[in-house]
Amino acid sequence: MTVVEGTQTFDVARIREDFPILGRRLAGDFPLVYLDSANTSQKPVQVIDAIDDHYRQHNANVARAMHQLGAEASAAFELGRDKVAAFIGAPRRDEVVFAKNASEALNLVARVLGDSGRIGQDHEIVITEMEHHSNIVPWQQLSQRTGASLRWFGVTDEGRLDLDGIDELITEQTAVVSVTWVSNMLGTINPLETIIAKAHSVGALVVVDASQAVPQLPVDVAALGADFVAFTGHKMVGPTGIGVLWGRYDLLAELPPFLGGGEMIETVTMAQSTYAPPPARFEAGTPPIAQSVGLGAAVDYLSAIGMDNIAAHEQAITAYALGALQEIDGLRIVGPKEAVDRGGAISFTLGDIHPHDVSQLLDSRGVAVRAGHHCAKPAHQRFGVQSTTRASFYLYTTTAEIDLLVEALHYTKKYFGG
């Protein structure tokens, strides 16, 4: 391994060498300036090689293949689970359920909580106005299936959760509260401690969408105290195709299965089946095997650098970008404008230039950002905008790249006559 072990200072240039794609040049010979990591992160050679090695040397199906390769693949797959469990501070390895992404993990919780009979028409489900669609739609569907009411926290003008009405919102009727840790659009880091304490005081379960949190913050699920935490591999330098649902074991153990199929059963007759204990109960079919290997390599990589260091870098880059962007005339940041309790995603509008046109012009200069509603339409509606342009950062982002972004935004303004 060519890492970073024992590194005392955060060396971005050194880290960038691990990411082959960051050396790419795009049309017009512009160097790639990748500012779309909240969408998906790039992958270090350590992760790419781990997946490559798995397919070259150890590929087989897991759990059911009795041959040598089957044993190697099974061990490699389960080692990925061990590494993820350790990375997030899970008290038990079998609290880590693999799904295909964070959306599926959130759907899994919503589905099985409904099927368990824990949520009925007298109950309420509480979410927030700043959620990603994947933490809104499954709860709307659960509400439709069960008759439970859906309620939500609003968002302040600054882009923070409005907790003023928390005592009216989270009540004895509340069965479940599902909230994002870090907003993918506003960048806000939410005060989970307050929400979890309130929810538990009324006996409600808490689901945390940690898709943007696990990649950039040190996470300890045991210390956090939530009941379920969902996130995805591809935003944390891991591969696509694997998501994680962490759940308290006692809860997982009493919940019914999600999908039916292979690997999730104890025994099957033509009339009925009994189900395997967690996590297998929730992992029907051939699981994401190579993806688990890749995700294991990803958490090794992040751990070697240190999540505290990554969080500090993210904070520094975000502060730098917030300052630089706000110097552009006509640029309006939607979300907290200071790097306090804030993640590394900045959404903004640029005069009346449509975000599609902004991102197209940036792309013509090699700067990759996201434009649109970022799967958070209600949060956009809250701020009276239909769409925004979003720049998002990660451990490999440099201040020089932020400068190129700013330069490209000036170019865009000029292009559209602003």
Partner: protein, 158 residues
């Protein structure tokens, strides 16, 4: 590749002109059909009305939120379609649609598409084709509904 991906081939002067001063924008009466279309990937929206006078498209009015490409293409649509009969309008739509899906290999017919030929460059940017077609698909939907409405109110046997 560099030439094809040149952003100037996308943002033709004609497109930027239509974007800044869209033709026929705003919702007007009378109309026989109104539709609301969205581009789910970006959230762009258009409300579009069609007024038919017999078989003639006598007005296409619209209110849209969208990027320069979608706004300009709806403006061009207004130029091209208003005053034509429904069959002629559908033929122009087909021509425009073909151009959009031609991957940049189709030579547009200026006699048919007029300012619409400026959108030839859009076909090189797969992510923007839906933008260019948003207003056109809305028009197709609206005119189909308007035909049903007018034929039922005039008691035309089907």
């Amino acid at each position: 590749m560099t030439d094809a991906m040149n952003v100037d081939s996308l943002y033709q002067e004609i497109i930027l002109d239509h974007y800044k001063r869209p033709h026929g924008a705003g919702l007007r009466e009378p109309f026989e059909a109104e539709v609301h279309h969205v581009n789910p990937t970006c959230g762009d929206e258009i409300t579009l009305r069609v007024h038919l006078d017999g078989n003639t498209v006598s007005d296409v009015s619209y209110a849209a939120q969208g990027c320069s490409i979608s706004q300009a293409s709806t403006s061009v649509l207004n130029d091209l379609i208003v005053g034509k009969n429904v069959e002629e309008g559908m033929a122009i739509l087909d021509e425009f649609n073909t151009l959009m899906h031609g991957k940049g290999k189709i030579e547009p017919d200026e006699d048919v598409l007029e300012d619409g030929i400026a959108f030839a460059g859009v076909a090189q940017f797969p992510g923007r084709i839906k933008c260019a077609l948003l207003g056109w698909m809305a028009w197709k939907d609206a005119v189909s509904q308007a035909l049903v409405t007018t034929s039922s109110t005039t008691g035309d046997p089907k």
